[in-house]
């Protein structure tokens, strides 16, 4: 007789499902101000506590607490609030345009705006970002013209990418925004490579690479950690843990018994887990990581804990797999509401100014949408000529592509 119980497979489940409220205690959200702030040259092993804890600055009342509270000019707070609000309003407007069939597809970053916007404000304008599809906040913070963004979304005659990429797969070298790959995480390794090149050339620019919680299961995540550690690459490695990879809860990616930041410590990388809906915490930790990189102390892995408030994309229906009121009950709240409250507490903001800003941004977005629409949308067929698909496959068009272009008759 076998003295043991039969073996059984453990398949993780979220604590909430449709009709059953989520128990968010799994987040282990610590109070604001409790996390210590180590020196820039910290031994990566000594960040183990930070990697499983949570750096938070803004408390429930919207006041800054603890050693991570940044000394930050009100101008940056205003810029951050504006960038986050603009990102949210832009997303809402583009979601509508998608429903009106002006584009094939859209992905919003509702609820995650602080992660990209605060991080970008803590970088230099010429630092290079290797983003995923939910960091449109980087482009908006770096003031990419909305007109260009919308032309890309509409795949129209003025689409800078000539209709070759899905909507939201932006590329903008001038804004330090690497071409998005639909493969998701390949850019994590490439960002490390870019940072290595910057170090090889004795440059002072750093790289910042992004993935989501889901992608950490791919080998490219671990590859990036290894190379970043081995060569002490000047790179910030961001994992946006928004709890969901389409319908798969973060435990399916491997977040149940440890944190995603926890993996960095084992790779010899200084690692922190941070309240990603806390503008001040995102700014402070990003600034710390950027300083480390610029001082040749090497990479920092940051897990940003946030919540994907919307569907994965316009092709997804989250009501099938998670409770409808999940975002409203998420303990880390809404990043825009939290920064707004903080500014009001500082006497630097009020409801009337907030309203006026929202109206001004709405008008800017509507004007840009109208201007872009003059050059067509995917729906009305005003797209780059089909002959252009043969361009840029190689630097110079080889003979076989010239023949095929002729055969196409375009």
């Amino acid at each position: 007789m076998n003295p043991h119980e039969p073996l059984r497979l453990h398949v993780p489940e979220p604590t909430g499902r449709p009709g059953c409220q989520t128990d968010f205690s799994y987040l282990r959200a610590a109070p604001a101000g409790h996390a210590r702030k180590p020196a820039l040259d910290v031994d990566p092993k000594a960040t183990a506590g930070l990697a499983v804890g949570m750096v938070r600055v803004l408390d429930e009342q919207g006041n800054a607490q603890g050693p991570w509270a940044p000394s930050i000019a009100p101008g940056i707070l205003h810029a951050g609030l504006k960038a986050m609000l603009k990102t949210r309003l832009f997303d809402a407007r583009m979601l509508t345009a998608q429903r009106q069939k002006k584009m094939s597809f859209y992905m919003q970053c509702l609820g995650e705006e602080a992660v990209a916007c605060a991080h970008t404000l803590a970088l230099n304008a010429d630092d290079m970002c290797f983003p995923t599809y939910r960091q449109q906040g980087i482009l908006i913070t770096r003031q990419m013209p909305l007109f260009e963004m919308i032309c890309q979304l509409f795949s129209n005659a003025r689409d800078p990418l000539k209709g070759r990429q899905l909507p939201v797969m932006y590329s903008n070298k001038a804004k330090g925004f690497f071409s998005l790959s639909g493969n998701l995480g390949t850019q994590f390794v490439q960002g490390v490579g870019w940072a290595m090149a910057s170090a090889i050339r004795g440059d002072n620019r750093i790289a910042s690479a992004w993935i989501g919680d889901g992608f950490t299961a791919e080998t490219d995540f671990h590859t990036a950690l290894t190379f970043a550690h081995v060569y002490r690459a000047p790179v910030i490695l961001n994992v946006v843990n928004n709890q969901w990879a389409i319908s798969s809860f973060q435990h399916i990616a491997g977040g149940e018994a440890t944190t995603f930041a926890g993996r960095g410590v084992g790779s010899g990388i200084a690692s922190l887990r941070v309240d990603g809906n806390d503008f001040l915490a995102v700014y402070a930790v990003s600034q710390w990581a950027a300083e480390r990189a610029r001082h040749n102390y090497g990479p920092t892995l940051i897990e940003w804990v946030t919540y994907r408030a919307g569907p994965h994309s316009t092709s997804d229906d989250p009501s099938k797999y998670r409770p409808a009121d999940d975002w409203g009950r998420f303990p880390l709240g809404d990043p825009i509401a939290r920064l707004k409250q903080h500014l009001i507490n500082l006497g630097q903001w009020d409801e009337a100014r907030h309203e006026a800003l929202a109206v001004e941004l709405e008008q800017e977005i509507i004007a840009a949408t109208k201007a872009a629409e003059q050059h067509g949308t995917l729906g009305d067929g005003s797209i780059a000529s089909a002959a252009t698909i043969f361009e840029d496959v190689y630097k110079d068009m080889p003979a076989h592509l010239r023949r095929q272009r002729q055969q196409m008759g375009a």
Binding site: M128, F130, P160, L161, K162, R164, Q165, M169, S171, N172, K173, F178, S179, S181, N183, T186, V189, Q190, G191, V192, G193, W194, A195, M196, A197, S198, A199, I200, R201, A207, T219, D220, T223, A224, T226, F227, V230, E391, D392, V393, Y394, K395, P398, A399, H400
Partner: protein, 351 residues
């Protein structure tokens, strides 16, 4: 960069007798001296100089910042090279054996190959990925493969395979300077001597081979140009890599006046040279070491059919590795040697 003072015509330069390994090393040396954007890295590539010695001395000469060892991680080697390419460097990376390239395939096929296109020319991956390929060294199934067809099938990649020291250096320099990603396959059985498939005979060194006289400085062999290595009138042999030497041997042993074409650039390729030759001879045999079915030979055959159909006097034959894993003990039954190629030449001539 001012290069006007350097001779670029190979025939104006002093030459040295080199092996393939020395020619590859010389190309890297010339390019690292000439262009600070060129960096070289891979497994065992730095201090030791590579398991086949192709990067020997480069770290000592150019420093650890430009020539270094990497973790055993092909996706990381290629992935970081792509990031460096986007930065503006021209990395040359080594995959220790072509058999190990598969973990890097996503970075090559989905990323390097399409980056220019998907960003409408904003970002590019001007990287060169070197890897020893082919068998004939009792390497078994993990040190013998010829995976060129998985690269030639990918739009946006260039795939190159030299078969002698002169071409190896000139093609490698052209690859490093190329703004497209290049897969640079090095037939390892040719590293230290030409090999005609007669494994039972003593090894022939490169020293007596005319293509072993290699200019010391900078020159290019242009990408997408084939070479007619043996002019002939009876039948065209289209091949590349180790089997170029096998085909020459087969022509000599059978006495058939074959025109042997070394593709050199496998894709994009030099179609005109192939078509002109087959239209002239009316017969064609395609030879490669890689497995037969769905291999590059199938594409070559389709092109011959499309462009030369009314000139053909006989069915086109393919001689290739069998559709099995590359064996260890049975290596010489697998390798498409001069006997099999000669038999195909005779069949085509008798048809």
């Amino acid at each position: 960069m001012n290069v006007a003072c350097e001779p670029s015509q190979p025939n104006e330069q002093a030459t040295q007798v080199m092996t393939m390994v020395q020619a590859i090393r010389s190309a890297l040396d010339v390019m690292m001296a000439r262009d600070e954007r060129v960096v070289a890295f891979g497994e065992d590539v730095g201090y030791f100089g590579g398991v086949f010695r192709c990067t020997e001395g480069l770290q000592a000469k150019y420093g650890k910042q430009r020539c270094f060892d990497t973790p055993i991680c092909e996706s990381g080697i290629v992935g970081t090279a792509i990031g460096m390419g986007a930065y503006g460097l021209h990395p040359v990376v080594e995959i220790q054996f072509a058999d190990y390239v598969y973990p890097a395939y996503d970075q090559l096929a989905s990323e390097a190959a399409r980056l220019r296109h998907r960003s409408a020319g904003e970002f590019t991956a001007p990287i060169t990925v070197r890897m020893p390929c082919g068998g004939g060294i009792y390497g078994g199934q993990t040190h013998s493969q010829s995976p060129e067809a998985i690269f030639t099938q990918v739009c946006g990649l260039r795939t190159v395979m030299p078969c002698n020291p002169y071409d190896a250096k000139g093609l490698l320099i052209a690859s490093i300077e190329c703004e497209d990603p290049v897969i640079f396959l090095e037939p390892k059985r040719l590293y230290n001597g030409p090999f005609d498939g007669h494994h039972e005979r003593p090894v022939t060194p490169w020293a007596r081979h005319p293509q072993a006289a290699v200019p010391e400085g900078y020159y290019q062999v242009p990408l997408d140009s084939a070479a007619i290595v043996r002019p002939g009138a009876a039948v065209t042999v289209i091949t590349y890599g180790t089997t170029v030497h096998v085909a020459l041997c087969a022509a000599s042993e059978t006495g058939i006046d074959a025109e042997v074409i070394d593709l050199r650039s496998l894709w994009p390729l030099d179609l005109d040279t192939l078509v002109n030759s087959v239209r002239k001879t009316g017969r064609c045999v395609i030879v490669h070491e890689a497995t037969l079915s769905c291999g590059l030979g199938a594409e070559l055959l389709a092109l011959v059919q499309e462009h030369c159909f009314y000139h053909l006097e006989a069915p086109v034959e393919r001689v290739a590795g069998w559709d099995t894993p590359y064996p260890h003990a049975q290596e010489w039954a697998y390798f498409p040697g001069p006997g099999r190629v000669g038999a195909a030449l005779k069949r085509v001539m008798e048809a």
